[in-house]
């Protein structure tokens, strides 16, 4: 399947993701595939990435066509020496259809950001740097197990702006245990005052088998109550909107459409993406697969010349439709109802009229001719809204198969 046929995605080109699992320390809330590593391991990992690229080579062109984004995520991509990053970027350009104007993004930890590193990333063609500040408050940062302090976080934003990245993004975490509305607003205000182009605000999620989960089980960590979380979330939208940051997804805010993450938007638009590196997921419009999650099996399989795929699923139309609703409702564009009807044969509005009217009446959603869009109070409960929507074609239609194609 070519990218042009990707469901509900129109003409989106594919995105390329590279996972960099290294971190200087493992944060107690993190459930990503990460490892602390050392210089030798990092170089070895890049060798593995190149081997995986080789294993794909021609096949990737056929299945994904051209990529217009390359995103380094982690872990901490900024922990990778610029020379190693360069090897990966060069290899991608050599083997895949990755034009020179493709948008390069890099996640970075504040402690890795200085004038020299910023300049070398710029030189590599990185256009977006996404800074994992998480907070500007020293106590919160300690609580989160971060290595940097508030001052370092602020400096990193200034350095990145100075270095001339086209988009500088700041990641913040809200809903920390014990966080008050005031302390969160201070973090937000600090971020706004630094004038980045983009802010991501993630509600703290306590994943199973993380240190935070164990602390919670032992009664040493208490999550913020739902009401307090909701207040923080609502305030986040208010303050950022007032400062010119428009929400374009549940947790993402940009000062102008040009600063939105083109790469991440592909996930929500169901565009195809190819993930490289351990634990990465890929999607070609119909099939999704994921790589080995642990570094050992990943390294061994690519060394043997194999693709390191650990599992895969082929989505039927019902599953694609469900994902489409689940992902699109997270975005400011919302769910294109007519396109959805044409693609999946499901009249979502007809099937859910009462529920949708309730959302609109409650100020949680806006319905116009072409789409259903959630407002911040709706985004705050988007999971519940999606649970409540009937996405199958309805009784008597003979299941969830497509009607109009």
């Amino acid at each position: 399947m070519s990218a042009a046929d990707a469901p509900a995605s129109g003409v989106d080109l594919a995105g390329l993701y590279v996972h960099v699992p290294f971190c200087s320390a493992i944060c107690p809330y993190c459930d990503f595939a990460v490892t602390t590593g050392n210089a030798r391991l990092r170089a070895g990992y890049v060798d593995s990435l190149l081997a995986e690229l080789d294993a794909w080579s021609a096949d990737a062109r056929e299945r994904f066509g051209a990529f217009d984004t390359l995103y380094f995520g982690g872990g901490t991509p900024s922990a990778l020496e610029p020379a190693l990053l360069s090897r990966v970027i060069d290899a991608c350009r050599e083997r895949f259809d990755l034009p020179s104007d493709a948008w390069l993004s890099l996640e970075a930890n504040p402690e890795d950001v200085d004038a020299a590193s910023a300049a070398s990333w710029r030189a590599l063609g990185v256009r977006t740097v996404s800074l994992g500040a998480q907070s500007f408050d020293d106590a919160s940062l300690r609580r989160l197990g971060r290595r940097h302090d508030g001052r370092r976080a602020r400096e990193s934003v200034a350095i990145a702006l100075e270095a001339g990245f086209e988009t500088v993004s700041v990641d913040l975490i809200l809903g920390l245990p014990g966080q008050t509305l005031e302390s969160w607003c201070r973090d937000l205000a600090t971020a706004i005052a630094l004038e980045p182009h983009h802010v991501s605000c993630y509600q703290l999620t306590i994943h199973e088998s993380t240190p935070f989960a164990r602390q919670r089980a032992a009664g040493r960590l208490e999550e913020l109550a739902e009401e307090a979380q909701a207040d923080l979330y609502a305030r986040t939208h208010e303050d950022l909107a007032a400062a010119g940051f428009a929400a374009y997804e549940v947790s993402n805010f940009a000062r102008g459409a040009e600063h939105r993450s083109a790469h991440n938007s592909k996930y929500w638009r169901h565009a195809p993406y190819l993930g490289l590196g351990m634990s990465s997921h890929s999607f070609d419009g119909r099939r999704r697969w994921w790589n080995e999650r642990a570094i050992g099996p990943y390294r061994d399989r690519v060394a043997a010349g194999e693709l390191p795929i650990a599992g895969a699923e082929t989505l039927n139309d019902a599953q694609l439709a469900l994902e489409c609703v689940m992902l699109r409702l997270r975005t400011a564009e919302g769910l294109p109802l007519r396109c959805f009807h044409e693609r999946f044969g499901v009249d979502l509005l007809g099937r859910n009229r009462a529920a949708i009217e309730l959302l609109v009446a409650g100020g949680r959603a806006v319905l116009d001719e072409s789409s259903l869009r959630l407002l911040p109070p709706g985004l705050a409960i988007v999971d519940a809204i999606v649970r409540g929507l009937q996405v199958d074609p309805g009784y008597g239609d003979g299941g969830a198969g497509p009607k109009g194609r």
Partner: protein
């Protein structure tokens, strides 16, 4: 006839009735050791597990006395619970004597006394048996004193045994033939035979268990059931060993079975009298009473797809349980189900458990209720056992509810709290007697409806398990009943409506509301949960709307996991019951309908 002995064994629960029956059966060689299993007469798993007999069973034993005389001993096993007292009565009427078993360490208990009263009501000769005499805790002197003081029987005549360890069983057998009377009756007839039980056999139809008083029954004979008036031709008669043994006839004084082409158990009434259609007796055997359900509840399958299976399962259960009655009902919240009548809470419990175990059903039962007698202003009288049919209060002249006489035996140190419990349960007359040093019997006239709810559990809690409880129905008495509705988001949930005494209405309604508030998940809107009498709200809780339910991150690696979770959640939602626009999970109904209110 003089060598027949028809007897039963009566005892408080757990005093060893079934074990004694087992030993008597073995001693008479009715069963080889290899086929033997404990509680051989209790054929249902449920009976074995709970140590109670639900269906009565009967066995004929051949015994040669120490004097060399051959006897036929008909052991008529009786159900051991107050809910089944109509079956107990039928069984007692078929006997001339009874073994009254008393546990050597527990002594006389509530049901020992109740059963003795029942047995003497039918003029049975009683032989007291002190069982479990080899237990270290056995106190034969104290128990003898209790037999004298509480039962008014001669303790020196008590036979001492240990059924478990086969001690004194010969003495029990000798006492049966020497001290219990032979049946009396006229061999020439006309035929009268009491139907004391009936079973259903899928090949032969209904098998009647009968005690012949006068005359005899043989194949080919036309018989008439005197209360129903129906005539049948006898196909087969026989005696009840552990299996049925065909015989040429059943003569006066004997106990056995009759097969007469009767299709269903609903065609007959246990307690009816069989007579000869060609030469009928003048009158049936007295004491006939129809078994009437006193407790009502609606049963719904957890999954509405299982309605047909529930219907089939109930039909099968009814084949062997004439006391079970049911009719189709439908609830907006729970779909189709059956309104069913039971002899008591234990009967309800047993039916539910059999449906769940033997038929794999998963059920929701609405709060059990009694039958109220409603007299309307125009003079019409309605028996209401279903809140849905409760008439408009403005048309009601008066309402009456059934009262019981509870007999509660407790160690005297709990007297105060138990009297208080009775008062709380709207007792009208409460008195007490000292039965022996330290033991008190409290008699109390209580509304049956109160006993249904939590009386027994609270009694057990208050008396730390030492209290025993028994009851009989008394009469209907005026009461102040209201229909309490539960409203979820202003919509009435029909399955949760209840008929309650006005004094209890607020507390119970609040309990329901609180339970629902805990178990109904948050919605996008605020959900008021109210208890109401007519238009008046008497209890209220609120489920707040949720304001935050969102996964913070949803990127390439999160989509599959998140979709799978969503698919699972959607499956779960499909099982929810819709009341208006509120989704109520099964657990909410279960929490409300099954929960212990003391929690």
């Amino acid at each position: 006839m003089k060598n027949y002995r028809n007897f039963c064994i009566i005892a408080h629960i757990d005093h060893g009735k079934s074990t004694l029956a087992d030993r008597l059966i073995q001693a008479c060689g009715a069963v080889g050791d290899r086929e033997f299993r404990d509680q051989i007469l209790d054929s249902m798993d449920l009976e074995r597990e709970r140590g109670i007999t639900i269906k009565s069973n009967t066995v004929s034993l051949e015994y040669t006395s120490k004097g060399g005389e051959p006897y036929v001993l008909n052991l008529i096993d009786t159900p051991g619970h107050v809910d089944f007292s109509h079956e107990v009565r039928r069984s007692l009427m078929s006997c001339e004597g009874a073994l009254l078993v008393v546990d050597a360490s527990q002594g006389v208990e509530a049901q020992t006394v109740a059963n003795l009263y029942l047995a003497t009501e039918y003029d049975l000769e009683i032989v007291p048996v002190i069982n479990k005499i080899d237990l270290p805790s056995a106190d034969i002197d104290r128990v003898s004193e209790e037999i004298d003081a509480d039962l008014g029987l001669d303790p020196f005549e008590a036979v001492k045994c240990s059924a478990k360890n086969n001690i004194g069983i010969d003495d029990v057998l000798e006492a049966i033939v020497t001290r219990l009377p032979a049946p009396s009756g006229s061999a020439e007839g006309p035929l009268t035979a009491l139907i004391f039980d009936a079973q259903y056999d899928s090949y032969r139809g209904v098998v009647l268990l009968v005690r012949v008083r006068d005359g005899s029954i043989r194949p080919g004979q036309m018989i008439r059931l005197m209360h129903t008036g129906a005539d049948y031709e006898v196909e087969e008669v026989g005696t009840l060993r552990l299996a049925k043994v065909r015989t040429a006839e059943l003569g006066a004084g004997s106990v056995g079975y009759v097969i007469a082409g009767i299709k269903t158990i609903q065609d007959i009434n246990v307690g009816d009298t069989i007579t000869d259609a060609a030469r009928p007796a003048n009158a049936p055997i007295p004491g006939y009473r129809e078994a009437k359900p006193v407790v009502f509840s609606s049963m719904y399958p957890m999954s509405s797809d299982d309605y047909d299976d529930l219907a089939k399962a109930l039909d099968k259960l009814r084949l062997n349980d004439a006391a079970l009655s049911f009719q189709k009902v439908s609830s907006a919240a729970l779909g189709f189900g059956f309104r069913s009548g039971f002899l008591g809470l234990l009967h309800l419990d047993i039916v539910q458990e059999r449906l769940e175990r033997e038929f794999g059903m998963s059920l929701l039962l609405t709060a059990p209720t009694v039958q109220f007698r409603v007299t309307q202003a125009d003079g019409t009288v309605l028996d209401i056992d279903n809140p849905s049919y409760y008439p408009d209060p403005s048309t009601i002249e008066k309402v009456e509810e059934p009262f019981i006489r509870a007999s509660i035996m407790i160690p005297d140190k709990y007297l105060g709290p138990v009297m208080e419990l009775c008062r709380e349960q709207r007792a009208q007359e409460t008195s007490f007697d000292y039965l022996a040093v330290g033991r008190v019997e409290v008699k109390s006239e209580l509304p049956l409806a109160e006993v249904l709810f939590d009386f027994y559990d609270r009694l057990k809690t208050i008396t730390r398990g030492y209290g025993s409880f028994d009851y009989e129905l008394l009469d209907y008495r005026p009461t102040d009943i209201v229909k309490v509705d539960i409203l979820v988001n202003k919509e009435r949930v029909d399955a949760l409506s209840q008929l309650l005494h006005r004094d209890k209405a607020r507390q119970r309604a609040l309990h329901y509301c609180e339970r629902l508030a805990k178990t109904i998940p948050k919605h996008q809107f605020k959900i008021p949960i109210q208890g109401a009498i007519g238009g008046t709200v008497i209890a209220r809780t609120t489920i707040n709307a949720f304001r935050k339910d969102v996964t913070a991150k949803c990127y390439g690696g999160d989509v599959t996991r998140k979709r799978k979770l969503l698919e699972k959640q959607k499956k779960g939602k499909a099982k929810m019951k819709m009341v208006g626009s509120v989704e109520i999970p099964q657990e909410a109904f279960v929490a409300v309908l099954k929960a212990d209110p003391e929690e």
